[in-house]
């Protein structure tokens, strides 16, 4: 199946001379939820804004559902919905007016039933006659989503959809995103909440300083880069690691009460059985042990700092 969005050698240098994107190549698969991660200023919004037609790329091509976004902007943009990072609302408009406006703006014939369904889905129906300025921030964010969905897009960009949103609404949004995906909508989102990406995404891309440094299936990524840690809670505290255990590069933690061993969960030989055997052999007693697997967050942090370290 051809990709629903295909980004080919896209770069962006702003008028200020700042290179926000180095050549980016990325294919988004139809029907997936793709999470774009990266620190502040990495270029996530720039990339999304280019795809949506808000920022002009310096070079490269982008195809949305087979249409080049600059040459064939009409069919391309008709397919795309965008919830921008910043909350920008026309404060004097009502919820209903602004949502029907968006639908019309995107070239769709009026459809009251459809707009009603979206507003109900987003729990905005009761507020439909209210001016946007009377809504809370979370509600405004939902209005932005309603606007983005009003023209029935098949590709949806969510630029930090859950920034400043409470836990309950976040859950609601996740549910909504899944529902959309189940209806065949492809979703590209950015987030600073790694747990969100971990929870939602099928695939993850990491962008840092304008460079796409990694694109991977979420599961593979966690597996591939996943480090596991084995912690042994000692019976007697230690002051230093016995030389017999030097091969395992252990760390002494909790004031000498714990030994920590970091290993690659996917490796052929993890070194765990031999370590445990050796410890028993040399007579170190432990009363408990547990293992933890690194989260996406740890992976992300190590990826980004590694890169930053390398280029600095």
């Amino acid at each position: 199946m051809p990709p629903i969005v295909s980004i080919k050698n896209v770069t962006k240098t702003y008028a200020s001379g700042l290179q926000a994107l180095k050549p980016i190549n990325l294919d988004i698969r139809k029907g997936e939820i793709f999470a774009l991660l990266g620190p502040n200023g990495a270029g996530k919004t720039t990339l999304i804004n280019i795809i949506c037609g808000i920022v002009t790329p310096s070079s490269g091509e982008i195809f949305a559902d087979g249409h080049e976004i600059q040459r064939d902007y009409r069919p391309a943009r008709a397919k795309i919905g965008l919830v921008p990072q910043e909350l920008t609302t026309d404060r004097f408009e009502t919820v209903w007016a602004t949502t029907t406006f968006s639908r019309g703006l995107f070239g769709r014939a009026p459809d009251k039933a459809y707009v009603e369904r979206i507003l109900r889905d987003l729990s905005l129906w009761d507020r439909r006659k209210d001016q946007l300025q009377t809504l809370s921030g979370g509600m405004k964010r939902r209005v932005m989503i309603a606007k983005a969905l009003s023209h029935e897009p098949t590709i949806l960009f969510l630029d930090e959809p859950t920034a400043g949103v409470d836990v309950e609404l976040r859950r609601d949004m996740w549910a909504l995103v899944r529902r959309l995906r189940d209806n065949g909508v492809t979703i590209i989102l950015t987030t600073h909440y790694i747990d969100e990406a971990e929870e939602m995404a099928d695939r993850i891309g990491v962008i840092n300083k304008g460079e796409l440094i990694l694109v991977e299936d979420k599961a593979t990524l966690i597996k591939k880069l996943g480090k596991k840690q084995l912690t042994l809670v000692l019976q007697e505290p230690m002051t230093e690691i016995p030389p017999e255990l030097g091969d395992w590069h252990l760390m002494l933690k909790a004031g000498g009460h714990e030994l920590e061993y970091t290993f690659d969960a996917n490796a052929e030989r993890t070194g765990v059985p031999s370590l445990l055997r050796r410890i028993t052999d040399i007579g170190v007693g432990f009363k408990d042990l547990n293992t933890t697997q690194s989260s996406l967050e740890d992976i992300f942090v190590s990826l980004v700092t590694e890169r930053t370290g390398a280029t600095a």
């Binding site: 037609g53 009409r74 795309i80 910043e86 406006f101 968006s102 019309g104």
Partner: protein, 258 residues
């Protein structure tokens, strides 16, 4: 779908949105200009006009009506045209316009169309108000409407350009206040330039507004400072210049896209 298809839903959405905004702010968009005009009549028409009697064979109060309408058309068209596009830029909702499947031509048609519609309605309202104060004759109604429509469109388009160019509210108000209003006052809204001393008359002829007002007044009373063809050509010329500038703006994304 190709670039030639006209996206009527999009254009209609913007047009309707803009008209709805005008209705919501009806005091600002309609009542204020009508009241200002009435004040002009009291001051210029009644107070000064009683001493001036006639200009080019037309009672002074009636003589100033076309100029007054033009003055309002200029300022209100510019205001409406600029505000319509400046406001989304200012609050950030422009992202939606830029990401919509709409061509530049359609954006211009929608915004300028709405701004011009408002001006035309306003012009007719002022005309009606004026007719309550002074007798009005319209010798060439079709030309009157033509000038009304063309001027509204041209200045709305000019306002649209201003709205894209402006980076703050001061800039938005600067051009109308510092250039358009003075040129209009000096351009014979309240007098015929034939009343000026010869040197000033020559200088006045460099004022483009003279040509715009002159044709409009001719459609009322059949008298004019310059030929009506010249008036028409001047208005059309300004319209085309604005069109070219808008074309350039959209081609380069000037102050719209980074």
């Amino acid at each position: 779908m190709n670039a030639l298809t006209f996206n009527r839903h999009s254009v209609w959405a913007i047009y309707k949105f803009e008209m709805a905004r005008a209705l919501r702010t009806i005091t600002q968009s309609i009542i204020t200009p009508v009241m200002t005009t009435s004040l002009y009549f009291v001051v210029f028409g009644a107070a000064i006009g009683s001493r001036m009697t006639q200009v080019d064979g037309v009672p002074y109060g009636s003589f100033i009506v076309p100029g007054l309408i033009m003055l309002s058309l200029f300022t209100q068209s510019i205001f409406n045209g600029s505000f319509g596009i400046y406001f989304p830029k200012f609050v950030g909702t422009i992202y939606e316009l830029l990401s919509a499947p709409i061509s530049y031509l359609e954006i211009v048609v929608a915004y300028v169309g709405a701004a011009a519609t408002k001006s035309i309605i306003l012009g007719l309202l002022i005309l009606t108000t004026a007719s309550l104060f002074v007798p009005i004759r319209i010798l060439h109604p079709e030309w009157m409407i033509a000038f009304l429509v063309l001027t509204s469109m041209t200045f709305s388009l000019f306002g649209f350009i201003l709205g894209i160019w402006a980076q703050g509210f001061e800039q938005l108000q600067m051009i109308p206040m510092l250039i358009v209003t003075p040129l209009t006052f000096l351009g014979g809204s309240f007098y015929s330039i034939s009343m000026l001393p010869p040197t000033w008359r020559t200088i006045a002829l460099f004022n483009p507004v003279v040509y715009l007002i002159s044709g409009f007044r001719w459609s009322f009373y059949g008298t004019s400072d310059v030929g009506v063809e010249i008036s028409l050509a001047a208005t059309l010329g300004f319209f085309i210049v604005c069109l070219l500038v808008v074309g350039w703006i959209f081609k380069t994304g000037y102050r719209l896209k980074s």
